[in-house]
Amino acid sequence: MKNRVLIIGIGSPFGDDRLGWVAADALRGSDVMRAAPIGSIEISILDRPGSLLPMHWRNTDCVILVDAVRSGALPGTRHRLDADELTGAGMACSSHGFGVAAAVELARALGEMPTRLMLRGIETDPSSMGMTLSPAVAAALPTFCADIAREALYLASNCPPAFASMA
């Protein structure tokens, strides 16, 4: 059995799309995470995993995906979506543009969903460029990471095992 809670920072090196990586790095170094029981929380970083995303959470109880979000909200807005809210994007995906919602739908079809899966994200600034976060996203980052750390600690003690019913 792997760690009970897996935090996956998804992104690329570019602008606000770095969010998943930056947040995962910040969480790794945070005091709250150091307080977690050894082996209860794992943090990983992925570069645009596409359809292979579900392979990274096999045999994990709870998954928190951390990714940049574009919904039309104000840049810097924090988002929290449960797995059942991540639907409707999987039917017409291309090979290059297989997003998180499509990957979750694929995992659901393959019966490879963890007990809990949620997406935590921050609304990006559409004009963000270069290799750093935009000011709006950077400003939201500390509270965003604190929220994720709190939730991960809670899930580490309270998330039911994903495959208990199959035993």
Binding site: R48, S95, H96, G97, F98, E105, A109
Partner: protein, 434 residues
């Protein structure tokens, strides 16, 4: 007397195709009067970005053109530049480049077969719906795709836009321990890849033979990947640096992607063209498998491309095993490079077909001009011809929705990457005054 019927048919946003494009048809009395694969993906301008850059920046920059076939862009670039500089890669560098390319073929083909193409043959709207009925096949596809990514990562440090390749070789050599882990994975997965070939060959294929010219690389004794002469089923046999004497790119008003033609005519590149032209170069270990199939090559049926792709997955896995198995430790990862002024061309076999690069470089090693001809722009005219024939055979009186599905299915056989193809902007400025 009945009035002639003009049916304007517009299929907005092609599904399960990378990039933004539409198919527009004008139909007159059941015949297609006009057919346009209209691509409106914004131009990428990569060739302009490269101007003024140092030669050593090119591999990392061109890798950004495509997230699925970055190795192809890197390999065509390094071969083009090395041909000008007179660089002679060692046997080890040559072998490891081929291993890295094998990784790209495995991941790209596995992805296309399962995510894009197989749902067409099985009547599903996409892979998610297919996964409900064929979970084991989809899992197999994901496993092979991940294995391809692992191979790219072995030499490229990461699988998306890898950074390990350079002009002269690689920045680092992989550790023997990393190689052993991958060899084990490849050996375990090989029977599954062979099952994949048999599975694709068992699909139902529409009877749709078409005449077309195939173009691919051809190597004296290997199934082509990084090296070889450019050959066609019509007798072409040239070096990569003679490409421009025979191939021309044309701009069409309705598309941001260029149409590339061979002696003024459309042609096919990609797995089916490679197979058709290189059957006698199949590794001995793959020949029995291919001859046991119900599908025969050479084939004029574009729907057989899915089988050609699966066969190439096995070829790539066997090649990677062979090359990694004979790997000897402590190799210098690169050879010295000295810039030289002039023009260099290189052509390699991207998963989707030949990818041609040409660089004009100054004495300091700076890029003066770059030209990149990706496979999708080479296949575009062929796709239009195929659509015209396939849709008319299908029947233009069919419902618009059915015509759309049929058209998309035809297009997907080519695995087009529209984002890769749209890299050109014809900018004309009329200036007056002093």
């Amino acid at each position: 007397m009945t009035e002639p019927r003009h049916i304007p048919l517009k299929l907005p946003l092609l599904a399960r195709v990378e990039g933004e494009g539409t198919l527009e048809l004008r139909v007159h009395d059941g015949k297609i009067e006009d057919l346009r694969l209209r691509i409106f993906e914004p131009p990428r301008l990569f060739e302009k970005f490269l101007e003024g850059r140092d030669y050593h920046e090119v591999p990392d920059m061109v890798a950004r053109i495509c997230g699925i076939c970055p190795v192809a862009y890197q390999m065509s670039a390094v071969h083009a530049i090395e041909s000008l500089f007179g660089v002679k890669p060692t046997k080890w560098i040559r072998a490891m480049r081929r291993v890295m390319y094998c990784g790209e073929w495995i991941q790209s083909h596995s992805l296309h077969i399962h995510m894009l193409s197989a749902p067409d043959f099985l009547g599903f709207t996409g892979v998610v719906e297919m996964a409900n009925r064929y979970p084991d096949e989809v899992r197999r596809g994901l496993k092979l795709q991940a294995l391809g990514n692992d191979l790219i990562r072995l030499l490229g440090a990461r699988s998306v836009h890898p950074v390990g390749a350079c002009v002269g070789g690689f920045f680092r050599a992989p550790k023997q321990q990393e190689i052993d882990v991958l060899l084990e994975k490849l050996r375990i997965a090989l029977p599954e890849a062979e099952d994949l070939v048999r599975w694709t060959a068992s699909l139902e294929f529409p009877a749709d033979e078409q005449p077309f010219t195939c173009v691919a690389l051809r190597h004296p004794d290997e199934y082509p990947m990084n090296e070889g002469r450019l050959v066609s089923t019509q007798g072409l046999n040239i070096r990569a640096d003679q490409f421009e004497e025979h191939f021309t790119e044309q701009q069409v008003p309705y598309s941001t992607a260029l149409h590339c033609l061979l002696e003024g005519k459309p042609y096919l590149v990609g797995p089916l063209a490679r197979m058709n032209l290189n059957l006698d170069r199949l590794p001995a270990s793959v020949r029995d498998l291919v001859s046991s199939l119900g599908v025969r090559f050479p084939s004029r049926n574009m729907h057989h491309s899915i089988v050609a792709r699966a066969i190439e997955v096995v070829i790539a896995m066997r090649e990677a095993i062979r090359l990694l198995d004979s790997h000897e430790g402590s190799q210098a990862p690169s050879v010295d490079v000295t810039p030289r002024k002039g023009v260099g061309a290189g052509c390699t076999e991207a998963p989707r077909g030949i990818l041609w690069h040409r660089y004009e470089i100054d004495a300091m090693g700076k890029i003066i001009r770059a030209r990149i001809v990706p496979p999708t722009s080479q296949n575009q005219k062929r796709i239009e011809d195929d659509l015209r024939q396939s849709l008319e055979s299908f029947g233009m009186s069919q419902r618009e929705e059915d015509l759309r599905h049929h058209g998309e299915r035809v297009i997907r056989n080519y695995d087009p990457c529209i984002s890769c193809a749209t890299h050109f902007l014809d900018l004309r400025i009329n200036r007056r005054g002093p």
